[in-house]
Symmetry: C2
Subunit: 204 residues, 2 copies
């Protein structure tokens, strides 16, 4: 088994996804930390050796590098119950993971990053002009999740899958981006289900 090394910023929910997946599976992962606020993932060394796209997380497997948080979770979870055995459910799990990257993360994670780490007074006019649209997009994503979870415990099938682990990290800290979890009761119950899983670890 190749060594697993996570290139990460511990404040990133995308990085937390991978640590949470590894923890639930009982897999050990080494951590190498970068400060994205100081451009540490944009150095020529990082771009050449870790990820030409200049982003974390990257999961290093031996001497091979795998960017994209959801792809890294997939790699860790193959062959485990975190990926459903049935073909439609497996594709449906990926559906929620693509939803997460398209409808959820760019709105909810970005507002958290802007408001909590950059600071509202430091935002550019361009960023400030996008707040309302990202607020609406994030609320729409949370509403879709809440409706889906109103009659079921997990996103796909009858137990936790990568769909849950992909959507959990930025949802459970969405209030830092100005979203109100109180408005999404089924989401709140589901958050408690995830954090109650055996071997759950918290975000740093």
């Amino acid at each position: 088994m190749d060594d697993l090394i996570l290139h990460e910023d511990p404040r990133s929910g995308n990085c937390f996804k991978i640590r949470l997946t590894a923890a639930l599976l009982g897999k050990r992962i080494q951590r190498v930390q970068y400060d994205i606020m100081n451009g540490e993932t944009r150095t020529s060394e990082f771009l050449q050796n870790v990820n030409a796209n200049g982003r974390i997380p990257v999961l290093q497997i031996g001497n091979r590098f795998l960017p994209e948080s959801n792809a890294a979770c997939w790699y860790l979870a193959e062959g485990s119950p975190l990926i459903p055995a049935e073909a439609f459910d497996r594709a449906d799990m990926l559906r929620w993971m693509f939803f997460e990257q398209y409808n959820h993360e760019p709105n909810i994670a970005t507002l958290r990053f802007w408001l909590m780490f950059v600071g509202e007074s430091n935002l550019s006019t361009f960023q400030r002009d996008q707040i309302m649209a990202k607020r609406a997009g994030g609320e729409a994503a949370l509403a879709v999740m809440d409706e889906h979870l109103s009659a079921r415990d997990w996103f796909v099938g009858d137990s936790v899958t990568l769909a849950d682990l992909s959507l959990y990290p930025y949802t459970h800290v969405c209030e830092a981006g100005g979203f109100r979890l109180y408005d999404y009761p089924a989401v709140c119950r589901w958050l408690n289900r995830v954090s109650g899983l055996p071997r759950y670890v918290s975000m740093d």
Copy 2:
């Protein structure tokens, strides 16, 4: 085998991904068409019966509905050579599909939609203010692709996979969004490789 029905707008590259994947696999798909410009995916009937997220494409498999283009491609391709047999390569293919939804589509597809279908003179100030950022984001995505393809024929491994089929549709029509393919010679050679595949079908 359940009947396959694609709920689509034929002008959408996300929908074309699924038709192209099905064509290369020799799978037959029925098509139900919606005009997204007329809000036909926002009707209460569509939201209730097809996709609560109000988006196409949705692949209907018997009486089950699978949104998200890349998840639908995955469903169609499981067990075929379009998904690599080796674990790292399989995750690496998903990596490029998540890259496509995060770094490529929101920039390249959106600019094509705005400039070709909405029309520059009909854009809102909010949309107009985003053009420069989406141009830069799209160019960065094309540059990452061009660098990756400069020393290889396909995104993952030695033959076509869903990574190629996911990135092809909006790349091959990116000039409608104001991008210049001429600047990305390795991408151009790869586009010809995809369109030269046996059973290739063109976008409507």
